[in-house]
């Protein structure tokens, strides 16, 4: 927003290139007020004053010019130090039409000023109108001259609270109230009422009523468009501007308690308002974030089968366990898919138990190792092939590459196991020898120990049965033994997997085929 100096009058140049001229009736040195530092007043080259008729002035524009004295290119003969004076007093060369337009603009602006408050936070708006009215009343005497209707400043608008427009605004207030039906909210009307009160008290001129009426609707409409853009800060600026022109002792009207406060007070008010608003915003965003999280937790709960937990923490616990078991299941199934086709060719003669052993091993590995199925697999394979050492030897290298980088482990183990196959007694020794090898494998933790226990149990079973096919899996041969083994193994596996989730238990239970 820029303040342009045209023909000795301050013309507000909005971003949209809508200058607004406000002839200030009241002499006032407001240049020192730095409350609104972000506005810059710049005098523009002299323009046809008539152009002002089509221009809007926004509140911030007005605010800006209030604080910055116009020293550049002052065509007007007025003293620039007396900023207000220059603004308020129409330049000698100003035409009556210009004055009228200014007046009309002011009045329309005034009207709009009254209207925006409803859209703004309650603090500033209530204060504005009364102040403005006071200003207007104060300046009404000056405004009389310019009250003549102007040809067109329909665009004038924005609620610049220039005192210049006081008179016309005051005049326009009653008319604005009539026209306020359009855009203004009820509060606007309320404010208008207050303005009316002051207006009546003001000696303001009554001329030019027609034009302000015409302009007010237009201004109101345009005002409405801009109101959305106006910020509370703007309203505060306007208030501040008004206070600049008004003498501090001005009585605050009904809601305008702080209006005559100095800059500091306005700053404090705006700061506290901003802080409270920031807190509100923070709370809102925090609430939104929590809502998002809760919604996602509900979705997660739906995905988890048999989840009847109402507590967030336990629900998340179950989600974690379920996720682990799901991962395990997928691993097992993919491994089964990958291995089974490979198992068929040529292995059946001596491998079915081994295959089952492998499957069992995998199952157990899955049950124990979760994400580390490779660990115990070689042990399983080795132990299961003990009764058939050669088979183990054959199986090792022929064992298909499972998806979990197992193969490299079984080979050395099976070779190692071969000499131990001679006697069952050596099994334990081999197991013992395997331990250090296994321990070299990373990720060997409790699951491995569990697996080892299971292996020993299997070995015991196998030793007891002393059958060539006494591996765990079910086959048509030696079913009784196998069943016994299976049950034993099942028990072992159950014990091992007791810490697993129910899902894993389900996986383990298949050993009891």
């Amino acid at each position: 927003m820029e303040l342009l100096w045209q023909n000795g009058h301050v013309v507000m140049q909005s971003q949209n290139q809508r200058p607004f001229r406000k002839p200030p009736p009241q002499p006032n040195t407001n240049g020192g007020d730095g409350v609104i530092p972000d506005r810059e007043i710049r005098s523009s080259e002299p323009q046809n004053y008539a152009t002002n008729q089509h221009l809007f002035m926004q509140e911030d524009e007005m605010a800006s010019w209030l604080h910055y004295p116009i020293h550049e290119d002052p065509p007007s003969p007025f003293d620039h130090h007396d900023f207000c004076a220059d603004i308020f007093y129409p330049p000698p060369n100003a035409t009556a039409s210009q004055n009228n337009s200014a007046a009309a603009a002011k009045s329309s602006v005034r009207t709009e000023e009254l209207r925006p408050p409803p859209n703004r936070p309650p603090i500033p708006p209530p204060r504005r109108p009364p102040n403005r009215i006071h200003n207007f009343a104060h300046f009404s005497k000056h405004g009389n001259a310019s009250s003549s209707s102007k040809a067109a400043p329909p665009t004038v608008v924005d609620s610049c609270d220039t005192p210049a427009a006081a008179a016309e605004r005051a005049e326009a207030v009653p008319r604005a109230s009539a026209a306020a039906g359009l855009p203004a909210a009820a509060s606007g009307g309320r404010e208008m009422a207050t303005c009316d009160v002051t207006v009546t008290s003001s000696p303001g001129g009554s001329s030019g009523s027609a034009e302000p009426d015409q302009r007010e609707p237009v201004a109101d409409r345009k005002r409405k468009g801009r109101e959305a853009e106006e910020s509370e800060f703007q309203s505060e600026f306007m208030l501040y501007a008004a206070s600049v022109f008004l003498s501090p002792p001005l009585v605050s009207l009904q809601k305008d308690v702080d209006f005559e406060s100095p800059e500091a007070k306005k700053q404090v008010r705006s700061t506290s308002t901003k802080r409270s608003r920031a807190a509100e915003v923070h709370n809102l965003s925090e609430r939104r974030r929590r809502d998002r999280i809760n919604e996602k937790m509900k979705a997660l709960q739906e995905l988890i089968p048999r989840c009847n937990k109402s507590d967030k923490a336990s629900m998340l616990d179950e989600a974690i366990e379920y996720l682990k078991s799901l991962q395990l299941q997928v691993q097992m199934m993919s491994m089964g898919c990958g291995m089974l086709p490979m198992m068929f060719p040529g292995i059946q003669q001596y491998i079915p138990p081994m295959a089952m052993g492998v499957g069992m091993g995998m199952g157990m590995d899955m049950g124990m190792g979760m994400n580390r199925p490779v660990m115990a697999f070689p042990n399983m394979l080795a132990s299961s092939t003990l009764p058939a050492a050669s088979a183990a030897a054959h199986l090792g290298p022929r064992f298909p590459m499972p998806p979990f980088h197992m193969p490299h482990v079984p080979v050395p183990d099976s070779s190692r196991m071969q000499p131990a196959n001679q006697s069952d007694n050596n099994m334990l020794n081999s197991l013992g020898t395997l331990d250090p090898d296994q321990s070299c494998i990373p990720n060997i933790t409790d699951p491995y120990q569990q697996y080892l226990g299971l292996q020993q149990a299997q070995l015991q079973l196998m030793q007891a049965m002393n059958q060539p096919n006494d591996s765990k899996p079910s086959t048509s041969r030696g079913q009784e033994n196998q069943e016994k083994h299976q049950s034993e193994l099942t028990i072992q596996m159950v014990r091992i997997a007791d810490s697993s989730t129910p899902h894993i238990m389900g996986i383990v239970s298949f050993s009891g085929i």
């Binding site: 996720l323 682990k324 799901l326 997928v330 089964g336």
Partner: protein
Amino acid sequence: MSSQRSRQHSGSTRISDDQIIELVSKLRQLVPEIRNRRSDKVSASKVLQETCNYIRSLHREVSDLSERLAQLLTTIDADSAEAGIIRSLLNQ
């Protein structure tokens, strides 16, 4: 869950926050996408979202694998060990 929340909103929030943080970190380790992102500031909602997606993808994978295993089952001897394995896998 909602009733507990409504009963003592702030209390449950206080208690749950730490637990949620811990559990969310666990989930982060499990879900490969988040684990590989190497970011310490993954929001809880993001983790939950990724977990849901991961679970759904795992479900899909399980169904795919089940389908394959079923096909395999038909190609092998029903009494074989492998069939047993497959059946067990499918019955999970």
